[in-house]
């Protein structure tokens, strides 16, 4: 069975972490991937030093986009907006357990992090 669908990913997919909407969020953003029909609604709060304190997401999409979102909500806690802005495909692949994404799935994996970057920009934190 596909290497893409290893246990760890499937767990995040079936039982996503931080699923839902964060009340009184500093960041509140919606991002779609129209080619796939993936959508994400991401909310985040920052701590007094401006670091990411908590992130939650809602949405639907494929295993890759949903697992990546779930993992991201855990992974970015404590990062500065600048550190988030610097995250690249490679970092997301690492975050997902050293996965190697094929071109066709890159957009799925990046949906959540791109949403977070967009939200940070729109809320003036970047």
């Amino acid at each position: 069975m596909s290497d893409l669908y290893r246990e760890q990913l499937l767990e995040h997919y079936h039982e996503p972490q931080n699923y839902g909407v964060l009340p009184e969020a500093d960041v509140d953003v919606q991002l779609d991937n129209p080619t796939c029909g993936d959508t994400i609604h991401l909310t985040a709060r920052l701590d007094p030093e401006g670091r990411i304190a908590k992130v939650m997401f809602e949405g639907h999409g494929c295993v890759i986009s949903m697992a990546a979102a779930s993992m991201l909500t855990e992974d970015v806690v404590g990062k500065t907006p600048q550190e988030v802005a610097a995250l690249e495909l490679h970092d997301v692949e690492e975050m997902m357990g050293g996965l190697r994404l094929s071109m066709g799935r890159v957009k799925c994996a990046l949906l959540a992090v791109n949403a977070l970057k967009k939200g940070l920009r729109e809320s003036g934190r970047l």
């Binding site: 080619t35 029909g37 993936d38 295993v63």
Partner: protein, 408 residues
């Protein structure tokens, strides 16, 4: 069985390969078909024995290249029932063919207040060119609806034709998502009776069933060579009378008769619409692909694919939570789209890939159609001559695995 499948498969070198250690189960021919050895070898033969620029060369090599290029045109014209090869224009793909009509015919004939009718099941290539033409000209773009069963709502057409404002009706001869085969003759007769032209998108129909422009009565037919086993090339057929009255689309070498500094006159058909150096070896390969299909017989091709569709329609519902889009009777084309409850089509495609099974997932360039069915995407398996019931079996087994892996 209409032909010996094992023998036929041996004609397609790519099918001999293994993917992830499994037999390649290629179920994405609606996107682009695999190439028979004869086509691949024809390219090599052209390039090693008879390549030169066509038309203007007076030496033997150029004459040989021109002869092969024009023979291919005759074969392709004949394949779609056109008696006049001058009506067959080489283009890159069906998309360019449809744009050619929208630009060259459309910008001349569509004015403010006119109506263009298309259908909800159109591929973006037979949709966006008309949308942009309508926007540029201030014309109306109207859609023939698709029923829940995936058929065209024919009763919606007469009201759209009644006021005489409809100039053109454009529709696919086979949906690349639903497999639906609209009643082209009927639609054409209605459009013509109302004074509208008919543009047929044959991208899916021409490779998979007998298409005859005379019988259908359509005015333009767009199709792709790469979807019937040829290289990266396509064709537009149009009625001579219409093509002659149209201005050219692309301007430059070969399409002119004479160029002065501030005026130009155009070459005869079909060259008027073939600007610059054409895709020469590709045209020859297109002709060889048509020969290959003709040798099988398009009735047999259709029969073979209907058999596969019937078998797939029978077996696919074994997969729990699987829903088929489009007609569930076998009088349809071999593009079978479906969705699985709770599972994203992308995941279906990725998991099947690890089993060596190639299907397509997404919108299949038909976003309004997916909107019609409220689906963000779907999965599609599509058949061609080299597919067999073993491919359907592999698909069903693969889908069972997808469900096991991804559904809780």
């Amino acid at each position: 069985m209409t032909w010996n499948l094992e023998e036929l498969r041996r004609e397609f070198p790519i099918l001999q390969q293994q993917v992830h250690g499994k037999r390649l189960v290629f179920l994405d021919s609606a996107a682009s078909a695999q190439k028979p050895r004869a086509v691949i070898e024809a390219l090599t033969t052209v390039y090693t024995t008879a390549y030169a620029n066509v038309h203007r060369g007076l030496y033997s090599l150029a004459e040989a290249a021109t002869a092969h290029y024009e023979e291919a045109r005759e074969k392709i014209a004949h394949f779609i029932g056109a008696s006049d090869p001058g009506e067959l224009i080489y283009v890159r793909n069906a998309t360019e063919a449809l744009n050619l009509v929208a630009y060259a015919w459309g910008r001349k004939h569509i004015t403010a207040g006119d109506r263009i009718v298309i259908t909800e099941m159109e591929h973006h290539s037979n949709l966006v060119p008309w949308m942009m033409l309508a926007q540029e000209r201030g014309a109306e773009l109207a859609y023939l609806p698709v029923t829940a069963a995936g058929e065209l709502e024919l009763t919606a057409l007469p009201p759209l034709l009644a006021d005489g404002r409809t100039r053109v009706v454009a529709f696919t001869l086979m949906s690349n998502v639903l497999g639906t085969i609209p009643p082209a003759q009927e639609l054409t007769a209605m459009a013509h009776a109302a004074g509208a032209l008919v543009v047929a998108d044959g991208a899916q129909a021409v490779p998979h069933l007998p298409v005859n422009v005379q019988t259908l009565g359509v005015d333009f037919l767009a199709f792709s060579g790469h979807k019937l086993g040829g290289p990266g090339i396509g064709a537009l057929w149009g009625r001579r009378r219409l093509l002659e009255a149209m201005p050219p689309f692309l301007f430059g070498g070969d399409m002119i008769l004479s160029v002065k500094k501030h005026s130009a006159t155009w070459n005869e058909l079909p060259y008027k619409f073939e600007a610059g150096t054409p895709a020469i070896a590709e045209a020859v390969g297109f002709g060889v692909a048509v020969d290959f299909l003709s040798a099988l017989g398009m009735e047999a091709v259709q029969q073979h694919e209907q058999m596969l569709v019937a078998y797939a329609l029978e077996r696919l519902p074994e997969v729990p939570g699987l829903h088929i889009l489009g007609p569930t009777h076998p009088h349809r084309g071999g593009a079978v789209s479906f969705w699985l409850e709770g599972i994203h089509p992308h995941d279906i495609a990725s998991v099947l890939d690890s089993e060596g099974i190639c299907i397509r997932a997404g919108l299949h360039c038909a976003e309004p159609l997916h909107a019609r069915f409220g689906l963000p995407a779907s999965a599609r398996a599509s058949f061609f001559i080299y597919n067999g019931t073993d491919d359907v079996d592999a698909l069903v087994a693969g889908l069972q695995g997808v469900v096991k892996l991804l559904r809780r």
